[in-house]
């Protein structure tokens, strides 16, 4: 039996602050199967990003257990690709150099990964841009480079923290389509944090909906829509039903309020 790509059992997280403890997460239990796309959906400040920090071993929970590929998390996980809301590209490296940073920092020979990096960039629609500096690219292109950087070493698990949050609506929709295609071809386990209901439903196998602070799991919702999905998927009754269901969940938990 293959172990889950990521497994959390009764995880809780409490931050001590000057004005008392803040409970960021409580009683979080879920697991991500190999190749599964899990979207974590919740309002701002519900501890979504904390969840990713815990999953990547950058922070440690105050309660519960976390395993990645069956191994308990005891320090920063390196078998992973991370994409943040900001692209955090290094301004002094060209596009190719930014992608290959992942390889250099791992102490491997970047020359061996050059072709793969160029291939990834082409796949991300950045063919011919490998010698540009980040400041010469638009926001969407920069974020694509950072996704390539997260994929170059072929990690089994991809952690994405609102990666399209800083992009304009149209670019965002395009990026969602491209990410879906990329995932459909590579079939990596993905944990995708977002506050966008449509984005979550469109991309995910399952959507984990969270409540406001302390972040708890409101519901884990399987999205039974077949892959691959297309722009028109958004107009299907299943899609609209799922979105409506989640919106109702947010109304019930007080994330959204009807002012009428």
């Amino acid at each position: 039996m293959t172990s889950a790509a990521l497994d959390m059992r009764e995880v809780g997280m409490v931050y001590p602050t000057a004005t008392g403890d803040i409970e960021a997460l409580a009683d979080i239990s879920f697991s991500v199967a190999p190749g599964e796309f899990l979207a974590v959906l919740g309002p701002s400040g519900c501890g979504k990003s904390t969840l990713l920090a815990l999953a990547s071993g950058l922070e440690f929970p105050t309660a519960g257990h976390i395993t990645v590929s069956g191994r308990p998390v005891a320090g920063p996980i390196t078998d992973v690709g991370i994409v943040f809301q900001t692209d955090v590209l290094l301004d002094w490296r060209r596009v190719l150099g930014n992608v290959l940073l992942q390889i250099e920092m791992r102490g491997r020979d970047p020359a061996l990964f050059r072709e793969r990096a160029l291939g990834l960039l082409r796949m991300a629609g950045l063919g011919g841009f490998e010698a540009k500096y980040p400041f010469e690219l638009s926001g969407g292109m920069r974020q694509r480079v950072s996704i390539c950087r997260a994929l170059i070493h072929d990690p089994p698990l991809l952690l994405m923290d609102e990666p399209f949050g800083a992009l304009d609506a149209l670019t965002r929709e395009q990026m969602v389509l491209e990410l879906h295609r990329l995932w459909f071809e590579a079939r990596k386990s993905v944990v995708f944090v977002t506050h966008d209901i449509q984005e979550a439903v469109f991309l995910a196998d399952r959507v984990l909906v969270m409540t406001p602070r302390p972040g708890r799991i409101a519901e884990i919702l399987p999205i039974g829509i077949a892959h691959p999905r297309h722009p028109t998927t958004r107009e299907t009754p299943e899609f609209i039903g799922m979105v409506a269901h989640i919106r109702k969940l947010f109304l019930d938990t007080g994330v959204l309020k009807d002012n009428q």
Binding site: L58, F84, V88
Partner: protein
């Protein structure tokens, strides 16, 4: 997606030149360097004419032509003194760079060290260097050492402060990313933290470059028998205003050349940063 900046701009040159940031108007003017030169030339002409028309005695304010002549006449003496002062400036400046950047890195790495040392550093800076200079002469004699030390003392603080700001300016996500790549702290430092801090480090070094000359001259004022500072004291003592002006001009030339070299190195090392700065709104740095 617009193929922004997809045009074939040569590498390292600003490819993004939006016309709506004021650059459009600037382009029709003469280049900044030519404008500065013309301005300087105009001031010199006005000075020359004013002094001659008002019949100001040469021992009070010599016209530029007389000063230039004096530099040409005494070039051997001035060159010899310039070497001495330049050596002091360069060594003090170099020493401050060599010590300040690692010091800033250590302060950044170890919070407790910063908390302990930073107030002391600030306190040491509030002490006027000019007042410390005589002490250094007492301790280290009339040779090179006290001049280098004073230049160093004046230079190191701005470099430390700016470098520290530079190290801190890196978003924490980048360091997380480095950890997820399994990178050692050393590798993270040299491949990511140092390059990220370089623009700030250079800002500090530029300030220091202009201060280094002051440091060396102060050292020479207090106790020396060579160097441009010493020559200035001698010239003033004998009311040789022409020589005083000649020395002043050479001193400022040393400062300008040092600054220019730092600026050039910055342009070569940080093409990504310079170009970004030029594409953006005009900033004070462009007035240099």
């Amino acid at each position: 997606m617009t193929p922004l900046a997809a045009g074939g701009a040569p590498a390292g040159l600003p490819a993004v030149q939006s016309a709506d940031t004021g650059r459009g108007r600037a382009r029709r003017r003469l280049p900044a360097s030519v404008r500065s030169a013309l301005m300087l030339f105009g001031v010199l002409i006005a000075w020359e004419i004013a002094v001659r028309l008002a019949r100001v005695p040469v021992y009070l304010l010599p016209p530029p032509s007389v000063i230039a002549l004096r530099i040409l006449q005494d070039w051997r003496l001035i060159l010899a003194q310039t070497w001495v002062t330049s050596a002091e400036v360069l060594m003090g400046f170099g020493l401050s760079i060599a010590i300040s950047i690692p010091l800033a890195a250590m302060l950044f790495q170890w919070r407790w060290l910063e908390e302990t040392l930073y107030p002391l550093l600030v306190a040491s800076q509030t002490m006027p260097k000019v007042a410390v200079a005589p002490l250094l002469v007492v301790w280290f004699g009339f040779g090179l050492a006290p001049k280098i030390l004073i230049a160093f003392l004046i230079c190191f603080f701005p470099i430390v402060v700016d470098s520290l700001v530079g190290f801190r300016s890196l978003p924490k996500e980048v360091l997380w990313l480095a950890k997820s790549m399994g990178a050692s702290p050393g590798k993270t430092f040299f491949k990511i933290q140092i390059p990220a801090a370089l623009p700030h480090i250079f800002a500090g070094i530029k300030v220091a470059a202009t201060l280094a000359v002051v440091g060396a001259v102060v050292g020479e004022f207090v106790g020396s028998d060579t160097g441009l500072g010493y020559q200035l004291i001698v010239a003033n003592g004998s009311l040789d205003v022409r020589l005083s002006f000649a020395v002043l001009i050479v001193l400022s030339l040393i400062g300008i050349v040092l600054f220019g070299v730092v600026d050039l190195v910055e342009r070569l090392l940080l093409p990504w940063h310079i170009s970004q700065r030029r594409a953006g709104p005009r900033r004070a740095g462009e007035l240099e």
